[in-house]
């Protein structure tokens, strides 16, 4: 198995927690369903609980929204100081990646200018261990700017993330990240 990335780890923890909670409620209600109570007796408690549940869920939504704003992948957020970055032009074609360079330094901000000439592709960056670190779409007629910092040197892999025809699974390219001096 591939080790999980940090974000994937967080997703797993959140998901496992919520699924456990959901499962517990459903199993408990199913197991106790036999003992019959009048609905009139149950409903007021249920509605009371529901208003709390409503509040909690709304708060979760708001919390999630605000937190997510803090780590958006979009250019303005990924490069807030507008620091100069090393630019790499990326073009997706059926079925290859054309990069203006296949060697970039670790630790520095890289600006990928991603586009496509024929159909939609997806520019996905995999770590040397095979962890998906991030992605952006490659769309004909548009240029998407992805600011990205490679954590460590090594051979990373660019993999197409958008189905683009028969050879889509083979649309791969190694990207060497070297130790910057």
């Amino acid at each position: 198995m591939v080790p999980l990335g940090a974000r994937q780890d967080l997703v797993l923890v959140l998901f496992a927690t919520m699924v456990t909670a959901i499962g517990a409620v459903f199993v408990w209600v199913a197991l106790t369903a036999r003992g019959r109570l009048e609905y009139q007796a149950v409903r007021p408690h249920g509605y009371f609980l529901r208003s709390w549940w409503f509040g909690v869920l709304l708060a979760l939504c708001a919390f999630g929204f605000v937190v997510s704003l803090a780590s958006l992948p979009y250019p303005a957020e990924a490069n807030p100081t507008r620091a100069p970055a090393l630019q790499v032009r990326v073009k997706g074609v059926q079925w290859a990646w054309l990069l203006s360079t296949d060697r970039v330094p670790a630790g520095r901000l890289i600006e990928f200018e991603v586009t496509a000439t024929d159909v939609n592709h997806g520019f996905g960056i995999y770590s040397p261990h095979g962890v998906l670190l991030g992605q952006v779409q490659a769309m004909p007629g548009y240029v998407n700017h992805l600011f990205f910092r490679f954590p460590h040197p090594g051979v990373y892999l660019i993999r197409c993330m958008e189905y683009c025809g028969a050879e889509h699974p083979y649309m791969l390219m190694p990207l060497t990240v070297y130790q910057a001096s």
Partner: protein
């Protein structure tokens, strides 16, 4: 609430008569047979990803396209028939219109079958421009057949939606009352008229969003057809993606809202409790109506050129979209079951299990709808996992539940059915788990040949599909058997 069939089959056994029961039966049986076959196709795809079988790449992608398009159409067909049956009495709906819709669905599905299996069309169920036109491995006519097929299905659903909406206007004198808003704002009500019951509210919401969604579908399909006829017809790739996903998201999402209508109609019959409209319920459906339209933006998070306003609208309303089902429909259903002494039968077990699928699939969807997570989950198998959870583990289970109820559940649940349910639900769980883990491991969706650890996980999934299909066979046979019995003794049915 109309939960009982009103039409008794004609005493003389005529060859076939157009009655609500007969049309709904034919919709359900057609849809289940084809879903079963497409489920096997899904199993074959999983086996290919496990490198157990080796399909040519273009064959794999034709099958993928067929599976996705067909499944969405067929689950919509089954659930549309179910909800139609739940409200046809109250709304005075006529079987002939459903039959027209059914005929258009069939035409569309035949065209899609021909386009993919004979023609080899393989641009995915989303037929995202410009893929259907560029360097294709299939002949141009296959593209035409596919687009016309989707158009036919859309037309059928559009007729279904318009019929419901006009019936709601006729019965309640307006769509706002069809949404039950007079329960919230008494001034809206008409003296002497009852508030619309929950299944009607669901039908109204589905009618409105379905009409808008199919309209968008027609607009993009006509644009693609125009481009097909005249390659100089300009299409902007970002515009096409917006409209395509607006359409696709609405249609795929409505399956579960169609299902919600049948939950309102039939869960109470098992729990022996009533589910009535109130202001909260009406308000929640207005919420769903809006959020289903605006949430599609989460499909374009990774298009950084998309206007930020649409990204934030997509994220915030994707979050909010969880609130009405979680707080009103799913919570309400659990409350209805709580200490109700519910009668467990195939229908109620699957309704209950489907609610779990809806809740879990929704949770997975919310995580993926968070932009920072989407950065590493978009187009991985996580996406496939979440929508199979609420379509296969939700909407489809609701459809079987409805069919079982429809077939009649007088006698106790048979041992075969019980075994079938265990296998079906267990198989689904394992099958989905494989998708989820693959997604977290970064395995992209739509890969005929997957990177590690995809193949290993696919192998588990293939085994799970076999279990799932074995269970499905037992459950469907049980339903079919009961349906035949109740046709022989109509007075015993339901």
């Amino acid at each position: 609430m109309a939960t009982q069939p009103v039409t008794v089959p004609a005493p003389v056994r005529r060859s076939w008569a157009l009655t609500p029961r007969s049309v709904v039966s034919i919709c359900l049986s057609t849809s289940f047979v084809l879903i079963y076959v497409l489920g096997m196709v899904g199993g074959i795809m999983r086996a290919n990803q496990a490198a157990v079988v080796h399909l040519p790449l273009d064959t794999f992608y034709s099958l993928l396209t067929l599976h996705g398009t067909g499944m969405i159409a067929l689950v919509t067909l089954a659930m549309a028939a179910g909800l139609w049956y739940a409200v046809h009495d109250i709304l005075d709906l006529r079987p002939r219109v459903l039959m027209v819709g059914f005929a258009l669905f069939c035409l569309g599905i035949v065209l899609v079958l021909v386009a993919t299996l004979v023609g080899g069309f393989a641009a995915g169920w989303t037929f995202l421009y410009p893929l259907p036109f560029v360097n294709t491995t299939w002949p141009a006519w296959a593209t035409l057949a596919f687009l016309l097929g989707v158009l036919a299905v859309g037309l059928g659903f559009s007729i279904y939606c318009m019929d419901i909406l006009t019936a709601v206007v006729g019965r309640y004198g307006g769509l706002l009352r069809g949404l039950g808003l007079d329960a919230l704002i008494p001034a809206l009500g008409r003296p002497g008229q009852e508030v619309a019951p929950p299944p009607v509210i669901a039908a109204t919401m589905v009618g409105i969003d379905g009409a808008i969604g199919t309209l968008a579908g027609a607009v993009i399909l006509i644009a693609l057809l125009a481009h097909y006829v005249n390659p100089a017809f300009p299409i902007d790739a970002l515009w096409a993606k917006n409209v395509t996903y607006f359409f696709g998201h609405i249609i795929a999402n409505l399956d579960i809202y169609l299902a919600a209508g049948t939950i309102y109609a039939y869960l109470p019959t098992y729990a022996g409790r009533e589910w009535k409209t109130n202001g909260v319920l009406a308000l929640s459906w207005v919420g769903s109506l809006v959020f289903v339209l605006t949430a599609y933006g989460h499909h374009l998070y990774m298009d950084f050129v998309q206007p930020p306003a649409l990204q934030f609208l997509g994220e915030s309303t994707s979050y909010l979209a969880s609130v009405p089902p979680a707080v009103v429909t799913i919570f309400g259903a659990v409350l209805l079951v709580y200490r109700s002494g519910i009668r467990w039968h195939v229908g109620s077990v699957l309704l209950y299990a489907g609610l779990v699928g809806w809740a879990v699939g929704g949770t997975a969807a919310e995580l993926d709808a968070s932009i920072p997570f989407n950065f590493v989950l978009h187009n991985t198998l996580w996406v496939v996992a979440h929508f199979h959870t609420y379509l296969l583990g939700g909407a489809f289970l609701f459809a079987i539940a409805f069919a079982s109820h429809f077939a009649g559940e007088r006698e106790a649940m048979s041992g075969w059915a019980r075994a079938g349910l265990w296998l079906l639900l267990g198989g689904i769980t394992l099958f989905l788990a494989s998708f989820y883990v693959s997604g977290l491991e970064g395995v992209p969706r739509r890969e005929a040949i997957q990177p590690a650890p995809g193949p290993v996980l696919s192998l588990y999934a293939t085994a799970a599909v076999a279990v799932l299909l074995a269970g499905l066979t037992l459950v469907l046979l049980d339903v079919w058997h009961r349906a035949r019995r109740s046709r022989a003794f109509p007075e015993e049915a339901a």
